[in-house]
Symmetry: C2
């Protein structure tokens, strides 16, 4: 067997174990009773160790060397590149650092759950110092191995090919117009009257409504399910995608759009190329592209006026006894586009969200590159919140620099993906509109042309191309914040 | 580390992978959409191969040899015995035979699903010939390795320590009185009037009722769940036991008692010794003892008149709009003790069930020991059905010798477990009654003393003792069919 084929077979084996990990992970979050946690986490840890041992199998180096000199077609070259990428990621760090960071991260994250509630920056800072130090070591090693700057080497884990240089360009662009846009939108919405959901929205009814909306979005129920979990996510495997949501019986708005968002992730997974299943090249391109699909569903389709019509109609069918004024199209539109300056990223609206992300990006970038110290965090956060969102977080760690879980375990480099996703989604929509009459299609209730475009341009490509290649093929250019600006301006000031 | 501890650690690793296999297996049967089947079965096959490779790791032989000369206490000796037993089972057969049997079994079973419907013995016989031949080879190799007869060596997989010699004694005993008892019971029930369930029993309501009954049976919901599957089973792991049922909306009787049955299996698993978790010695003793717990719940507790009172009361609470006469205690009792001569084992009542099993036992015993040919099956089946149950299956393969799945893939030696379980359950109940006022306890609705007895005598013992030791400690003697006879006589003629 050629070295290339040996590699493909080895990664197929790894994918089988990852499959089991994904299903058991979903089970853990959505099905497992509490008492099962201890034994499950031990079993999952054993599986991780096994997957890691497969990923660091000594022969791989030789196979990669041999495969490089074999005659490969374009698809095989991409396949080799993606296998090698995952292999490098798994092998670049010394075991001792991985373990030390994992320990420090678990400790910091665990304590953070209490410290955040108690607004205890001093306590948090003590644990976090170690996480930052080890993450900086990690970034240095990754930088060495890739020839990138430390922060870019961390970014590369989630967004291969994306660099500080390119992010600075697009994020500075956003920063140049977003604050004014937020001001204008808030001013415009000042006089609006909104009727808030208020009443009993039974979980079972919300679930039935969610399933109807998933049908409208052509979720493939032969290859996936909807369940519940504390933190909504999209998990499972492409042949069997598990999305989750959580229900509050006091309102249905958040859960419903959450389902739309996760369905976007799910359809990307369901639409990945089947012929490449079980290989890294058949996986989703990046976190940012994944988020572009969920946000395409949530922001580009889900908040489209014509889609809100469907949502309102379906909601009225299900919530027969609830206040009809809540469910009127105009009210639903307002509910889904309300702009508000607030402290918390995860609760932020479409318009203020990028500011939260850019703030984090600038801080983690400078932290990994050694330009700032971890103790500078609270002051930097306060300054940037005032500049970008107009709110001070002085002494308010809980709702300021201690609000997110990401940094507690050292996941530096992830935050940009959220806003990259929103920008890619806007750019994809602009490109799609050249050939698809999106508004009519949504109005018709048969959204097939939209999904065909996404499938042809994004889903079916897996990781065959780099992000820049993928986006250029789909839209004619690489990431351009202009589309995002146009989209936001049109929606919030149009 | 001592060889003994090395072994314990290795089996702990194996148990982690078995954990994942159990959860993914449960998911496959109760959650997975159809489209996920192909990728899942590939992932599960990979996991099986991995578990097998751990179980056949070459160093194990040396570790077992060294551990045998280490100074071990009683518990460690039992632990070593059980680890060795599983190791032997996994290593005794040559890979080529395992694969050949697996292939022939899959082929035969797959074709059987159609052939059974078509009453096609001729077609079935062609595939089955190979399964029988390979199973006979397997039995011969196992016999060689254990010094047992071929059939006893197959029995040993499911019922270690149980032999043809002992089974012949108890089953011949049963055969000497059961046919008359069946006649008498049917005669006695002739004049009874039963009101059959008939109406709409909503799945959701049945589920709520089932959960209430599980609470009465003190199922630990912090360590388990109830779900649905086509074929009900008890799966998962001791810290997280997954039982399933299936609902027919036309009646609730079968599903409800099915839940009681699976809860018996579940409480055994939940009650296994936590300190021995992850080791073979901490697992259930045998298939027969497992079945003794499910049948203890189903037959000894579940069909106890005082328990039927609870069932009827709970059913009346849940099925508010259904025919009240169906749910009256006297009618429920009749529904749950109706005796009927019939062809199908899985639908058989408590009284005729052993005849179905003994018939199969005698045939598989003689088949594995080479006393009969596989082509003799239909005639033998017909003769024995006439003798034991009074029905002819001549030319009726579908409802005769082709009705069960077990032999299609060569699982010879399993059938006795069902009736062993029923007999052990009766014997345990007789022993329990010496110290527990079972009827009053059940009447009171707090069944704790019953579960304490089972926990003390069965559940908490895991596989620390042989079946004979376990049963003797619990009841003062080894298996004795007399208790079963008394139980059946009292229930059906009392």
């Amino acid at each position: 067997m050629s070295a290339f084929n040996t590699l493909v077979q080895h990664f197929k084996t790894i994918s089988h174990f990852s499959h089991l990990s994904a299903i058991c992970g979903w089970d853990q979050a959505s099905m497992m009773p509490n008492g099962g946690a201890q034994a499950r986490s031990e079993a999952m840890a054993e599986l991780s160790v096994h997957i890691h041992s497969l990923m660091t199998k000594p022969q791989l180096e030789e196979w990669f060397a041999s495969a490089a000199s074999e005659s490969l077609n374009h698809q095989q070259i991409s396949t080799l590149r993606e296998m090698k990428r995952q292999w490098r990621q798994a092998n670049v760090l010394p075991e001792s650092l991985v373990q030390a960071k994992s320990l420090a991260g678990s400790k910091c994250e665990h304590a953070w759950r209490t410290q955040r509630k108690e607004n205890d920056w001093v306590g948090f800072e003590k644990n976090w110092a170690e996480v930052v130090k080890l993450s900086q070591e990690e970034a240095a090693i990754r930088a060495d191995a890739t020839g990138l700057t430390p922060y870019d080497a961390m970014l590369d884990i989630y967004e291969p090919g994306t660099t500080t240089q390119s992010l600075d360009v697009v994020f500075n662009d956003v920063k140049s117009w977003l604050p004014d846009l937020i001001d204008a939108a808030i001013e415009k919405q000042k006089s609006e009257q909104i009727i808030m959901p208020n009443g009993h929205y039974a979980t079972e009814t919300q679930k039935a409504l969610g399933l109807d909306v998933m049908k409208l979005l052509q979720f493939d129920f032969n290859h996936g399910r909807l369940d519940e979990s504390v933190h909504p996510f999209c998990g499972g495997v492409p042949s069997d995608v598990r999305i989750t949501t959580r229900y509050s019986e006091e309102e249905f708005v958040q859960s419903l759009m959450g389902i739309v968002h996760e369905t976007g992730h799910a359809r990307y997974e369901q639409g990945l190329p089947k012929s490449l299943a079980g290989n890294p090249v058949g996986e989703a391109r990046s976190m940012g592209i994944h988020e572009s699909q969920s946000l395409f569903f949530e922001m580009q389709v889900g908040r489209n006026e014509n889609f809100i019509h469907h949502l309102a109609g379906l909601a009225a069918t299900h919530f027969k006894d609830s206040d009809k004024h809540v469910l009127e199209v105009e009210n639903m539109k307002k509910l889904y586009t309300r702009v508000k300056r607030d402290f918390i990223r995860v609760d932020a609206d479409e318009l203020t969200y990028p500011s939260h992300v850019i703030l984090r990006y600038e801080i983690e970038r400078d932290l990994m590159n050694g330009k700032i110290k971890h103790t500078d965090l609270p002051e930097l956060w306060d300054t940037k919140m005032q500049a970008y969102i107009g709110l001070s977080t002085k002494d308010n760690y809980r709702n300021g620099c201690m609000q997110d879980i990401h940094w507690t375990d050292g996941s530096f480099g992830y935050f940009p993906s959220y806003t990259l996703g929103a920008m890619y989604a806007a750019q994809f929509m602009a490109a799609m509109k050249k050939t698809v009459d999106v508004d009519s299609v949504i109005r018709s209730g048969d959204l097939t042309p939209i999904f065909t475009w996404l499938s042809d341009n994004i889903w079916s490509k897996g990781s065959l191309f780099t992000t820049d290649e993928l986006v250029t093929q789909a839209t004619g250019e690489t990431l351009n914040a202009e589309f995002f600006k146009k989209h936001l301006t049109s929606r919030y000031l149009g």
